[in-house]
């Protein structure tokens, strides 16, 4: 029986940003991996299927523009919230910035993994969620920066020495492997496929969580909302079943695409 009361966790803008992130990330990986693993058996047919060298490169740059765009929009929205005087963004229990508590929670979580203690109580953002979130910032700087260098080498060579382009190509590919590998094996598991969430946590698509689940998973945040009497304002109706069905389908496709990409990396590495 579905719960009547839901708590809103993500707004419309955040969900939209995540959606663009999914599409552009998978698109970048699909159009970039054939080049990185150009010696793999699947690389040539894939590149031809996509439409050849020119089309693959153009698509890769289009997805890149999309990803950089959504990243800048997100950073812009965070800056706007900071400027508007919103508190708790850079520090505190509702912040995504890593803090000493995260180290403590990680240790307690591992203790729980090993049957050495109770499950720790988490706040709005857990340490693995912070890692996932900040990994995008690291990735954007590394892959985005090196990607722009490789896109406009003549421009960047006006002030950067030649060896930086050798390094740019290397880290662009290696960081891409890290990103695809991390998303597919770690993020998919942590956020969606672990036993309690399997097959998918819908919160990033619907924006809402059943109240009971929220209270269990983020007891500190739930308690704070209750004590500050702001829980009522965060309550939301159950998600539209049509939206849930759509999200399930889309999520399934994204997971399948991600696993497919990961599998092709494994095949390419093993057949080297």
């Amino acid at each position: 029986m579905p719960e009547a009361r839901y708590v809103r966790r993500f707004g419309r803008a955040e969900r939209a940003q995540h959606l663009v992130l999914i599409v552009t990330f998978l698109g970048l990986a699909a159009t970039g991996l054939p080049l990185l693993f150009s010696d793999a058996a699947w690389a040539r047919p894939t590149a031809r299927l996509v439409g050849g060298f020119g089309v693959t490169g153009t698509l890769h740059r289009l997805f890149a523009v999309g990803l950089i765009g959504v990243f800048l929009v997100h950073v812009g929205s965070v800056v706007a919230r900071l400027l508007s005087g919103e508190r708790g963004i850079l520090w505190g229990p509702t912040s995504l910035v890593p803090q000493p508590r995260d180290v403590v929670e990680l240790c307690r979580h591992v203790q729980w993994f090993l049957w050495r203690g109770p499950k720790p109580a988490f706040d709005r953002y857990t340490y693995w969620e912070k890692f996932d979130y900040l990994a995008v910032f690291w990735g954007m700087v590394i892959i985005g920066g090196s990607g722009l260098m490789l896109w406009f080498p003549e421009l960047f060579a006006r002030f950067l020495p030649g060896w930086t382009f050798n390094v740019a190509l290397l880290v662009h590919g290696e960081e891409a492997l890290l990103a695809v590998g991390f998303i597919v094996t770690i993020h998919f598991f942590n956020s969606h496929m672990r036993p309690r969430k399997f097959p998918m946590d819908m919160v990033m698509f619907t924006g809402v969580v059943p109240e009971g689940e929220y209270a269990r998973e983020r007891p500190l945040e739930y308690a704070r909302l209750q004590s500050a009497s702001t829980l009522e304002a965060r309550l939301a109706p159950p998600p539209d079943p049509a939206l849930v069905r759509l999200a399930r389908l889309g999520g399934l496709l994204a997971v399948a695409a991600g696993l497919g990409l990961f599998l092709s990396i494994v095949v390419a590495v093993l057949s080297r």
Partner: protein, 389 residues
């Protein structure tokens, strides 16, 4: 049947002069006249007269009959020697790979020039030695099928048929056929130092038509190596192949040429494949730099040579062919950087070390974290209850 020819009537030798062709025809015009083994002894006068030898008398070639005392003559005559008139070609054949084949496999003049009484000049369109017929004539033995007398040479005629040379031959007889490179009578194995297709001789052979390429190649480091006796040094056929000879504008050929350079320049090919240039060509696309785009094709010089397209003096110009706004910084990029070589590419080496450490660190940590979490959560008795709740 006896061993003696039986004609309609017997020609009696009464003169001291050699028999003329009409006299020979008294017997050899009769289709029903056969030898002991049943083969006809017919010589068609009209075909012979039309042949390049039509003005000659029968006894000019069958010389032993000029002084024969008795006719009909014995069935076994002395072997006709073309050499008596055609000394140089016959000597060439005798010393050639074809002439030295053992026993019955050895080629005769007639193997290529056709039936002995119907030989046409090479200028005759119908002659098997007419330029446009030669590939077919050679192809009888070099076409992959058993040739006349079960002779079979290396099957290259099919490869040649698809080559740009064969296509060009359809338009102009200036284009080469087999004999332009291999010669015609004195054909030698390519291992023979006197053969025009012996590797060190190939630039001169191809250069007979491709003069500018020969000039450029002649000054290259490859030509110097070839002349110095380096058996692995490339010559024209190393990249262009001998018989298939594809158009150099084709993607297929350009990509194959990269691999060809890599047969000697292994490290250069490996590091090229690590670069965007090499990755794109490995995918089968050509609009990026391939070996010859930077190093030139025929006039390859060592980097230390000021004439080299990749020498420090010329590098900027070379890069600008594709990257028009390239700067001095830009050409400091190492197209053949090796991430495993801290001497030559220190920055890349340490960047690779850092990235390897990062990847291994992240996956080890989160791999273990994920695995432990999975096991713990599966065994979490409250999980199922929570799910149902």
């Amino acid at each position: 049947m006896s061993g003696v020819l039986v004609g309609p009537f017997v020609y009696a030798q009464t003169q001291s002069v050699p028999p003329d062709n009409d006299t020979c025809q008294t017997c050899h015009a009769d289709p029903s006249m056969v030898r002991a083994d049943g083969r006809p002894a017919l010589v068609r006068a009209d075909a012979f007269t039309a042949s390049v030898h039509g003005v000659l008398g029968c006894v000019d070639c069958h010389a032993d009959l000029a002084s024969a005392a008795e006719f009909p003559h014995p069935e076994r005559l002395a072997r006709v020697s073309c050499r008596s008139c055609h000394d140089e070609p016959a000597a060439g054949l005798a010393g050639s790979v074809h002439g030295m084949l053992s026993g019955a496999a050895a080629l005769q003049c007639t193997s290529c020039h056709g039936a002995p009484h119907q030989i046409r000049p090479s200028s005759d369109f119908e002659s098997p030695t007419y330029k446009l017929q030669i590939a077919g004539t050679c192809g009888q033995c070099h076409g992959g099928l058993a040739g006349p007398g079960a002779r079979r040479g290396p099957a290259v005629a099919g490869l040649f048929a698809d080559s740009i040379h064969a296509v060009a031959l359809e338009r102009t007889t200036v284009a080469p056929t087999c004999t332009d490179c291999h010669r015609s009578h004195d054909i030698l194995r390519r291992t023979d130092a006197k053969s025009p297709v012996h590797p060190p001789n190939i630039p001169a052979t191809c250069g007979a038509c491709h003069g500018e390429q020969r000039r450029l190649f002649g000054a290259s480091v490859h030509a110097a190596q070839l002349a110095a006796g380096n058996a692995g040094a490339p010559q024209c056929a190393s990249c262009h192949t001998a018989h298939r000879m594809a158009a150099t504008a084709s993607d297929e050929w350009q990509l194959a040429a990269v691999e060809q350079c890599g047969t000697c320049h292994r490290e250069a090919l490996a590091t090229y494949r690590d670069s965007v240039h090499g990755q794109v060509t490995a995918l089968g696309f050509t609009p990026v730099a391939k070996c010859a785009d930077c190093h030139e094709s025929h006039q390859v010089h060592p980097v230390s040579d000021a004439r080299s397209s990749v020498s420090t003096q010329n590098r900027l110009t070379t890069c600008r062919a594709c990257h028009p706004a390239a700067t001095a910084n830009f050409v400091q990029f190492q197209p053949h950087a090796n991430k495993e070589d801290p001497e030559r590419s220190p920055e890349l080496y340490y960047a690779a070390l850092f990235m390897d450490g990062l990847l291994i660190g992240v996956f080890l940590f989160f791999g273990a974290h994920t695995l432990l979490w999975f096991v713990r959560e599966r065994n979490d008795s409250s999980a199922e209850e929570e799910r149902r709740a």
